[in-house]
Amino acid sequence: MGKVSVYTPIAYIVLLVSALALFSTVYRRRKVRRLISLAPWFGSHLQRDIYITLKNQNDPKVPEKMLEAALLRRAAENVRRIMSLQESKPSLAELHQRGAVGDDVWTRFLAAEKIMDAEVMECAGEANAIKPGWAQVMFQSAAEIVHNDKIHERLALVSERHQKEKERMEALRSQAAAELELEK
């Protein structure tokens, strides 16, 4: 056997460790970059932005009532988002388990859930700062607001659909009348 220099194993280990370290940093950096590049599940939170702007406005100071209303609106939006998350979670979990959707959606969805949790906590904190113990009541009212909005939306839809159906039936009737004319 030829002589093996002492440096051979050392070089080997250095090479191995540096390669692994390189891989790990590159991998982690890419992962973080990918996570940052993922679009948030929900768009911008307008109600929250309004509330924060109002709260930070000092000249002139925003009346308490207005601030409360803004917070209530913010809570309502939170409730809406949480409901939408809860509704689609079982479907997404099933699809993800089956491999019918990719990991990205799942990651985004879980992130959205976490963000909403934090947002709700923050919202409750704000409410309790305005009036201790109000948070509980506020979310209940917010849920009612959401329901009410939904009903209003449906009602609006009815008149719209009514108009459409009316037009359709008119068209049908005139067509039928024309056909009858022809047959005569």
């Binding site: 689609s88 479907s91 099933e94 089956r98 019918a100 959707v101 985004r108």
Partner: protein, 634 residues
């Protein structure tokens, strides 16, 4: 110990075999896979129908089909396979041309002495004596040449050795243990590697190759495979597409998901952007609209692009259906299924079923008396000719050939069944049995026989109830004139709970069907056990075709949950055993349910109420059974 020695394959005796074995280990399974894939794709298509009806852009569609078939033949895998086989045969040729090396004669004392393996010692001795008389160097005359003399002498030495190994104790032991009468022989181990590979000069090269393989090639392949599996979902949808579809469905009210929304979603698919880099959503949407209105693109290249988009759309729609089914909403699923039908026939969504028929357009449809395909087919040749304005006999033939593949499906009976039970019992795992019949124009249909509509348990169905689903022959691919790919026809089975407007089970598909007028059976396994609550529930079944408009079948099915049939029914009434409280209460409910024939919703709600009240009261009062019965009657 024996003196063993390793030697490398200097004369290239063994390593070609080794290389061939390795190669064939990879090549044979891969080739098998490739060939089976190729044969599957090549027999896809009914050429006899294709020649009949030709849409205006037939030539381009044909070109597109040819191209896609060619591209499936010259894939990278196939090219690599070919290269692998060439190397394999090269090595085989090399082996063939090599001279076989002289094998060292194995020492076999029996053969040398010319005795059978079962010969006794006596026989061996006499044989040896006979041979030594003949071959002993002293006995051989001098009349033989020198060379032969030496040969004979060595032969005689061998004989003596052989004789000794069979008679002498020590030599015999040596022969048995080491295969040679003189004891252990130097052993030679060959390693099937060519000598140049292990030479001093080859070492750096080998190390380099090894490093490339383990350090670069292997991680690269694994990484490619992994990112490839992550890029596409199990349905073959791009993950971006799947994510977009899911997000849209999750965030939109199902009522607002119309065909336009679905078409927008489809145009947004990532697949098209990969297929045709730089294409915009609007362009894809425009192509889809052109296709659905059966129009032609101005440019031939655009037309090919359109066909590519359309053939990909069918897969995406299928994936869309899969994602939609997880939301369980019936309207959404129905919209997607109907859109799939319009895609197959190249018609705008919600088109009239008669518009599928060649030579028939909106104008002719308005004047037409008949409103279904069945009625049109029943009109007879001459009448059809007149109505559709067909002049040549060729066109009529084309029309008939198209009509001949439009099936009609009829659900004869549908019921729930629990394997091994005569009734559907609470909490059991039931399956839905659909007895249906598929007919094509011209099939003679006789009234179904009652015994064909029953489902008898057999040992096989008790074990695997769904094993009968693929008993009938598979359906042939369908020729949809405008669609550039051949469609494997199927019916998607939806089991719907009409009260919640939700599907009970994800859609399953019927692909095996008797087409000669016999009754086919399809079963859908319910994934959840039935509720414990007794009663009769109405559910809906829909069989939706994936390739023709207006050949769906709808039917309602009743799920009647009744108690298991026992002989102890009467005892239950009299004895108020606390353990059987719940059963007694349930029995009362069943009777109450039977006496009423009202709308299902009311019935079910009433049942629930009664159930609660009866079980509450029964703890204290034993006469409660009769009480609830009275309530039910009133």
């Amino acid at each position: 110990m024996s003196d063993s020695r390793y030697s490398y394959d200097e004369n290239a005796e063994a390593w070609p075999y080794f290389a061939m074995t390795l190669l064939s280990l990879v090549l044979v399974p891969t080739t098998y896979k490739a060939v089976s894939k190729l044969s599957r794709s090549s027999d896809k298509g009914p050429p006899e129908l294709e020649s009949q009806y030709k849409p205006p852009n037939y030539e381009i569609i044909k070109r597109f089909r040819k191209k896609s078939r060619k591209s499936s033949l010259f894939t990278t895998t196939n090219v690599l396979l070919l290269a692998g086989w060439i190397i394999f045969f090269g090595v085989a040729f090399f082996v063939y041309t090599q001279e076989a090396p002289d094998d060292v004669q194995r020492f076999d004392p029996y053969e040398i002495l010319g005795v059978t393996y079962t010969a006794s010692e006596k026989e061996i001795k006499s044989k040896y004596r006979k041979l030594s008389l003949k071959f002993h160097p002293d006995k051989i005359g001098n009349n033989l040449g020198n060379s032969t003399r030496e040969e004979l002498e060595s032969q005689f030495v061998e004989m003596t050795k052989a004789y000794k190994s069979l008679t002498d104790e020590v030599t015999r032991k040596n022969y048995l243990d080491y295969g040679h009468p003189d004891g252990p022989q130097p052993m030679k181990h060959g390693i099937a590697l060519p000598k140049w590979l292990v030479d001093e000069k080859g070492t750096p090269m080998v190390i380099l190759a090894y490093a490339c393989l383990v350090g670069i090639a292997l991680p690269f392949v694994v990484w490619q495979w992994w990112s490839g599996t992550k890029k596409y979902t199990k349905n073959g949808l791009h993950t971006v597409t799947a994510a977009n579809i899911f997000e849209k469905f999750a965030k939109t009210d199902f009522e607002n998901i119309t065909n336009d929304v679905l078409l927008d979603l489809l145009s947004d698919a990532e697949e098209f952007k990969i297929l045709y880099p730089g294409i915009t959503n609007e362009e894809v949407h425009a192509h889809l609209n052109t296709y659905l209105s059966r129009e032609k693109e101005q440019d031939a290249a655009d037309e090919i692009k359109k066909l590519g988009i359309v053939s990909r759309s069918m897969t995406i729609l299928e994936g869309m259906l899969d994602i939609a089914s997880s939301f369980k909403n019936v309207d959404l699923i129905r919209t997607i299924l109907l859109l799939t039908q319009s895609f197959a026939q190249a018609l705008p969504p919600n088109s009239h079923e008669l518009l599928q028929i060649p030579f028939l357009d909106e104008k002719k449809l308005a004047c037409l008396k008949v409103k279904t395909i069945k009625e049109l087919v029943a009109m007879g040749d001459d009448e059809q000719r007149k109505v559709l304005g067909i002049e040549s006999a060729e066109d009529l033939k084309a029309l008939k050939s198209f009509e001949s593949q439009i099936p009609s499906v009829e659900i004869l009976k549908a019921f729930f069944k629990v394997p091994g039970e005569s009734t559907v019992t609470p909490g059991s795992l039931a399956h839905l049995v659909i007895k249906f019949r598929v007919a094509f124009p011209g099939t003679k249909l006789s009234p179904p026989e009652l015994k064909d509509l029953e489902e008898e348990d057999s040992p096989e169905t008790l074990k695997k109830p769904l094993s009968t689903n693929n008993k009938a022959p598979a359906l042939n691919p369908v020729y949809a004139p405008f669609l550039p790919i051949y469609l494997q026809p199927k019916w998607n089975v939806l089991l719907i709970n009409p009260r919640e407007n939700k599907i009970v089970e994800p859609p399953t598909s019927i692909t095996h069907v008797y087409t000669n007028g016999d009754i086919s059976t399809f079963k859908v396994q319910l994934s959840a056990p039935l509720p414990d609550q007794l009663g009769k529930f109405r559910l809906l079944i829909e069989l939706r075709s994936n390739c023709f408009i207006g050949v769906d079948a709808l039917s309602s099915v009743y799920l009647e949950i009744s108690p298991p049939q026992t002989t102890e029914e009467e005892i239950d009434d009299d004895i108020s055993d606390p353990d059987e409280d719940s059963i007694a209460g349930a029995m009362a409910v069943m009777r109450g349910g039977k006496t009423k024939r009202r709308a299902d919703e009311d019935e079910d709600e009433d049942n629930e109420d009664e159930n609660e009240s009866s079980s509450d009261e029964e703890d204290s009062d034993t006469d409660i059974n009769t009480d609830t019965e009275d309530e039910g009657d009133s």
